[in-house]
């Protein structure tokens, strides 16, 4: 949480694409800005 506060962004989940998209969609449902990034 503090990382978001200081940097404006943070990694909150990692995993395969399906799993990550599911997590992103849950954040989008709450109006939070979330994007996917491939490492």
């Amino acid at each position: 949480m503090l990382q978001v506060h200081h940097d404006g962004k943070a990694v909150v989940s990692s995993g395969n694409r399906e799993r990550s998209e599911h997590d992103v969609a849950r954040l989008h449902a709450y109006g939070l800005w979330a994007t996917m990034q491939q490492d």
Binding site: E21, V24, A25, H28, A29, G31, W33, A34, T35, M36
Partner: protein, 155 residues
């Protein structure tokens, strides 16, 4: 200045609402506007409610086709719950959760439209300024949201 709480915890569970007629009128108007906007997905402020998940076009299209309907459905449902329960004196915990979601959406849309940033000073707003009235509405919604979070958070 003492202001009575508009939203507070109900000792019986859920929350209590203490809105006057003027406030209900304003909220009804704002919620109706949000309802109309949800049906217009091209509105720039509404796009804030549906952020992109991917940088590349193809993945983003796929993501949209998978979740857009679900996200829209959740928002419409929360909004319908708030519009249905607006004149009530009490809300169940589940209804209060819908309020939290719909008010969050309202603030996001209004904040995007008004280009609200951390630098905006909400103390001493002048309603005669071009954005004055809308910023006052935004501040009012923020205040309600805070009371709602506090009311739900008290166990």
């Amino acid at each position: 200045m003492y202001l009575p709480r508009k939203i507070e915890r109900d000792p019986a569970g859920g929350v209590r609402l203490n809105f006057d007629e003027q406030e209900l009128l304003l909220l009804r108007e704002l919620l109706a506007e949000l309802q109309g906007l949800l049906e217009d997905p091209d509105d720039p402020a509404v796009r804030r409610l549906f952020p992109p998940a991917h940088d590349d076009f193809e993945s983003e299209e796929q993501y949209r086709s998978l979740v857009r309907g679900q996200l829209l459905g959740g928002r419409a449902e929360a909004l319908a719950t708030v519009r249905r329960t607006l004149g009530r004196e009490t809300l169940s915990p589940k209804e209060a959760d819908a309020w939290l979601r719909a008010f969050n959406d309202l603030r996001l849309v209004l904040g995007t439209r008004l280009d609200v940033t951390e630098d905006i000073e909400f103390e001493g707003l002048d309603p005669r300024e071009p954005r004055g009235r809308d910023l006052a509405v935004y501040a009012y919604l923020s205040w309600l949201q805070e009371e709602l979070v506090e009311a739900i958070g008290q166990v």
